[in-house]
Each structure stands twice: as structure tokens, then as C-alpha cells.
Amino acid sequence: MKKIGLWFLVTILFCLLVVPAQAQEWSWKKAAEPYQGQTVYILVNFHPDIEATLPIYKQFEEETGIKVQFDLLVRRQMDIKAETELAAETGAYDLMHMGLWKTARYARRNWAEPLQKYINDPSLTGPDFDLDDFVYNALRALTDKDEQILGLPWSTETGLIYYRTDLYEKYGIPGPPKTFAEMEDICKKVYTKDIPSIALRSVRGYGINMWSFGRYGGSFGGSYFDDSMRPTVNTEEWIKATTFYAGLNNKYGPSGIGAYKHYELVQDFAQGQLVMIEDAGPWGKTFNDSEKSKVVGKWKAAMLTKGPVKHQFSHYTHGLMIPRVAQHKEAAWLFLQYMTSKEFQLKRALLFGGGSVTRTSTLEDPRYAITFDFGDWGGINAASLKIASAVENPYFVPYNLPEYKEIGDTLGIALQNIITGDQTPQKALDSANEVILGILQEAGYVGKPSSQFGF
């Protein structure tokens, strides 16, 4: 009995002394030792936060001896290349872009490596790696329906309203709009042909006009499906939403608005050619860059407006995942862990201004608020992200369906047809509803309870 007691004591002492000592000893160098000399190939899109990553990732190479090779492409081309590579199982990349509406698609095809086993491996994952510190919706965006984490987020964003303070002052507008009604009212007051009031994305696409319009349907009280997963995008609420969105663009927007994507919105606003735009959070950095913008010091950011029924937010999360067929999974995990760590996110934000971070600790760091003080951007962005990413604010858009790309594109075509005046809202949405019904029927969803899909 005494012997057992002695052994028990020795074990306890071992746990108390040796295990923490080992944990403290964890270092990038030690974790990377078996993988030194490997090269991690990454496929990702051009993005302000990736631009901010490039000058500082070399430190990872120095610390670990693992090389990192970025393959940067424009978003659409990257999406097509990524799915082609994954379907062909080439194993050409060790890390690939992962995003909000890719998670369900990749999970269905078993393309992405579940990350839990790497997270749980103390030899590969540092003791400071804190999963709970990720912005809630950012991590949720990359988690599949079976609660498997398939990617880690490096940038998360919601929409913001950017407005010109000098022009607001000129027209006697006291502050940014808080509701859709105020938004239209301001548009009426500030419109001139030379500097139109507003521009919203018009070009069709699940990630283009649907990214900004997505929230309008919900704001007017619409929903994508009824209780039995039949589409309902042609209801009165959707007609009001599309009419309002198209109306803002057509009545108060620039000439040729029908061909505007986010690039044109940003370009026009940065060149001082628009009073307001509603678009993604990361653009704040562009508008504050005197090499790219003529409106430095003349703009501010505001939170997205409330609709007549709901205060809905747009949302997107960029992440990286390890393909199931990747050749250097462990090395890839080490870099993914490094790039999304608290330290790296804070460093990236403070040194190079990539402000759309995915770590709560960074968003709450006082240095973050000071660095991004321009145009109220930092505070508004952090506050918007907090609301948009709260547990009680689930996505309105059906990103969790693998068919979302096709559904979103169909609705995007309808919206662009309404904006260009080619179809009435009723006709365009009826037609979209019919096409979406076909997509859902083919997927075998119709007739099943919508709660089963999280709606």
C-alpha cells in the first residue's frame, strides 16, 4: 500500500513539475524541427490583410526553417482554381483560401482536413493558442454542421457606411443615417450629378451584389425559405427590399451604376466622386492612404443602417484550410497557427494596418483603437463586428448550403436586372424563385423542415 502511495506521489510530482516545464518549453523552433526545409504552398486572394501579412511572415521562416510560398490571385480566379485543384486532388497546395460560403461545399466533398487533431496535439500547438479568443462568427464561418473546425480565420468583416464629412457639413446633414428612411432622406438632400449621393454594388454574383444586398432582404423582414424549404424570395418583403436597393442606386447613384462592383465604388469614393457608399470594412485603410485617396481626413465610417423590420448585417470571413490531400500538413498547420495567432494578428494590425482582425483580444487592445482612429473607423468597425458576430445574430443568408453559390448568383441576376430596369421586381424575383426551387428540389431539400438546415 505504501508502495502504491509512493508511486502516486511520484506521478503527481512529475505532472506538477515536468509537464508544465515541457509546456513552457514549447517553441516554434522546437515544434517545427521535424519539418525543417519543407515549403508550405499557399493559395489565397489579394486582400488588404494579406498585403499586410506579406512583410512580416518571413519571421516565421527564420524561426522555424519552414519556407512559405504565397500564390496570390484575384478572388474569382482563385475560387475556380481552388475548386479545380481540390476536385483533381493535386495536392499542389498545403494551405488554401477558405471562406464563409465554402465551408459547406468543402465539407460535403471532404476536401478539408479537420483541424481538431492538430489543435489537440501539444507538440504542434502552442499553449497560448486560444480558440475562444477568435471572433465568434469568424470561427463559426469555418466550422461545418458537424462542429468540425475546417479552417482558421485571418480576416473577418462586416459592411460599413463610408460618408464624406465635408459634404455632409456643406448640406447641413448632422450625422450619418441610422435607418433606411434616413439614408434615403440624406440621399435626396445631397444629390448632384457631379457627386452623386450613394452607390451600392450592382453587378450580379453571390459574392458581389449579393454580399451587400444580402442583408436588405432580412432588414425588410424577408426570408429565403418557408418552413418546408421552399424558396420565398418573391414575397412582398423581397419586392420592397429590391425596390429600395435599386431605387437608391438609380435615383441617387452615378451614371452606369448597373456595372458597378466594389472596385468601382471604392475608386469613385476615394476619388471624391461619391458622398456615401456601403461596403466592406477593410476599405477604411484605402481611404486613409494619400497615395490612393483624395478624401483623406474628409470621411468617416458609420454602422450599417437599420431596416424597417430588423438590423441585419452583412458578413464575410476569410480563412485558410489544409486540403485533405496536402503534402505538408504539419508544417501548414504551424504556419496557419502562426498567421492567426493573437501576437501575429496584433502585430499585423499595428505595423501594417490590416485592420480586419479575427482575434477579440486584438479588437479590444487599446493600441488597436489608437492605430485605427482615423474616420472613426477602428471603433465603428470593432463595434459593428461585435454586433454582427454575436451569438444571437446568426447569418440571414443561407451560406451553410453547399448550393449557395448558385442560389446567390440566381438572386444576384434578378437584382441586377431590376437595377438596370430590364425586369420589374415582381417578374425578376418570380423567375429567381422558380430557378431556386429547381436547385433546392434537385438537392433534395424541399419538403424537409427548414429548421433542419438552421433556418
Binding site: 461545399r105 453587378v203 458597378y260
Partner: protein, 292 residues
């Protein structure tokens, strides 16, 4: 004697066949199997990356018959061919007839004429998209000086026409080159004789040059029509098939279906149909023109 000549002929034919065989084998190997695979894929319900595919015979083709977006894409392709080839052939004839004459600076003019054709299609798309940007584009600005204010790529009424015009800008040199070469091969004496008989320029063109140029016109027409069915970079860069589906021609719809919606089976059916249309078009144009 006859039998000897026959033997030589057969031997020559056999040698020719043997010499041609490697090229034929390579040609068949690189063209036929992909087509068979494409057709085989089109008989399946198959999503990109899915392990299993379901054989549905002509299910995808039946679906295509009821697909309004497909028919819209066919109609758009035909409109585009009609507009672009119509402009290119008629203008090309006029310009090449002028170019066939001797004038000062002809060589420089010919050289400059070739520039659009040698520009990469991606560059052409980006350049014209920037030129036509309604507020900052150079062409839009110049047109606004003469009172034309149109957002060329933002309206479904003008987007396809704009694509046709940009295609004309890019490929007109090719048409002119073909016609100039054709005209150069026509003996000048024919025109001179007609002129001596009192024919005017229009009559010479109508009764002498056009009939003799017919084979060249048909070949040019064929090249351009098939090329336009396959048009991709300009649409991808300038309109992405929009506004709505106003410029989503067959080729682009097949691309979207296959690579964006991941419907590999249906996309294969669309692609195979495009291939069949190209073949039918070629056979039709050559057949009706009695070109041999």
C-alpha cells in the same frame, strides 16, 4: 503499261499513308478521346469533386431543352455573330479594297492596323472596360463631348453591341488581312478589262471581285463565327455575362455551370452542344456556299 502505272500509284499512295500515319495517330489521340470523355460526362449527373456520378443518359440534354438561360445564351451568341461578323465582313471588304490600291504610307498603315489583333485578349478586355467606364473612361468622356451619355456596359440594351464593337476593333485586321490577300490574288487585268468596258467601281466589286473573293469570304466568315461562339476573355473581363444575363453567351454559361456551380455533367452537356453547333455551323456554311 497500265498495270505498271497502277502499281506505282498504289505504292505512292501507300507510302503517303505510311508517312501520314504518325501525324494522324497523334491528331486522333489528342482530339477524339477528350471529345468521347466530354460526351460520356454529359450523360451523367456529376458534381465537381463528387466521388460518384449517376448515369442519366440524355437527362442533361433534356434539362437543357427546358433551360431558359441556355436558350437565352444561344440567342445571344447568334445575335453577337450576326452583329459582329456583319460589321466585320462589310467594313473589312471596303477597307481592304481601298488598301489594295497604291497610296503613300500604306506600309505604316498596314502595320498599325495589325496592333489590335496582336494585343492579348485580356489586355483588350481590360483596356476597353477602362475606356468605357462611364465617369472616368476616355471613350465615355469623348462621346460625352458630342452629347452621347451612355453607360455602355451597364445597360442590357448596349452591352452586347459594345462587345460586338470591341470584337470588331480587335479582329477587323484579321478580316482585312484575309481579304487583302484574296484581292491580291485576283489578276488586275480583270478589273482593267471591266473598266475598259465601262463598268463602275461598284459594278467591278459586285460582278468581279466579290464572286472571286467568295471562298475567302466564306472561310473568314467561318473563322469569325466559330471564334465568336468561343469568345471568353472579353466577356469575362468586361461584363461577366451581365448586366443580368445580357451577355451570357453559351460559352460563358457553360463555364459558369461547370466551374462556378460545379455541375460537371450538365456543363459537359453544354460544352458538347457548343462543339456540335460549331461543327454544324462549319458544315452549314461550307455546304451552302458549295465551297470545296
Amino acid at each position: 503499261m497500265n498495270s505498271k502505272a497502277n502499281n506505282i500509284f498504289i505504292q505512292k499512295r501507300q507510302t503517303l499513308l505510311v508517312m501520314l500515319m504518325p501525324a494522324l495517330v497523334v491528331l486522333i489521340a489528342v482530339t477524339i478521346p477528350p471529345l468521347i470523355y466530354l460526351f460520356w460526362s454529359s450523360l451523367h449527373k456529376w458534381e465537381f469533386g463528387a466521388a460518384e456520378k449517376t448515369f442519366i443518359l440524355f437527362g442533361n440534354f433534356t434539362k437543357m431543352m427546358h433551360d431558359t438561360r441556355f436558350w437565352n445564351s444561344v440567342a445571344l451568341a447568334l445575335f453577337l455573330i450576326g452583329m459582329a461578323v456583319g460589321i466585320q465582313i462589310s467594313l473589312g471588304l471596303l477597307i481592304s479594297e481601298r488598301l489594295n490600291r497604291v497610296f503613300k504610307g500604306k506600309k505604316i498603315f498596314r502595320m498599325l492596323l495589325l496592333l489590335p489583333m496582336v494585343s492579348p485578349p485580356v489586355v483588350v478586355g481590360v483596356m476597353w472596360r477602362m475606356f468605357l467606364q462611364p465617369r472616368l473612361g476616355m471613350v465615355s468622356y469623348l462621346l460625352s463631348l458630342v452629347g452621347i451619355h451612355t453607360a455602355w456596359l451597364a445597360s442590357s440594351k448596349t452591352a452586347l453591341l459594345t462587345i460586338a464593337l470591341v470584337d470588331t476593333w480587335e479582329w477587323m485586321p484579321f478580316v482585312i488581312l484575309m481579304f487583302t490577300a484574296g484581292l491580291a490574288s485576283i489578276p488586275e487585268q480583270l478589273s482593267e478589262a471591266a473598266q475598259a468596258d465601262g463598268a463602275n467601281q461598284l459594278q467591278i466589286l459586285r460582278y468581279i471581285l466579290l464572286p472571286l473573293l467568295k471562298p475567302v469570304i466564306i472561310i473568314t466568315l467561318l473563322f469569325r463565327a466559330v471564334d465568336i461562339i468561343k469568345i471568353f476573355p472579353k466577356i469575362f473581363i468586361m461584363t461577366e455575362g451581365g448586366p443580368g444575363t445580357a451577355t451570357e453567351i453559351m460559352n460563358f454559361y457553360a463555364f459558369r455551370t461547370t466551374f462556378q456551380y460545379s455541375r460537371f455533367g450538365y456543363g459537359s452537356a453544354l460544352s458538347f452542344t457548343i462543339f456540335a453547333i460549331c461543327i454544324l455551323l462549319s458544315v452549314g456554311i461550307i455546304g451552302t456556299s458549295k465551297l470545296k
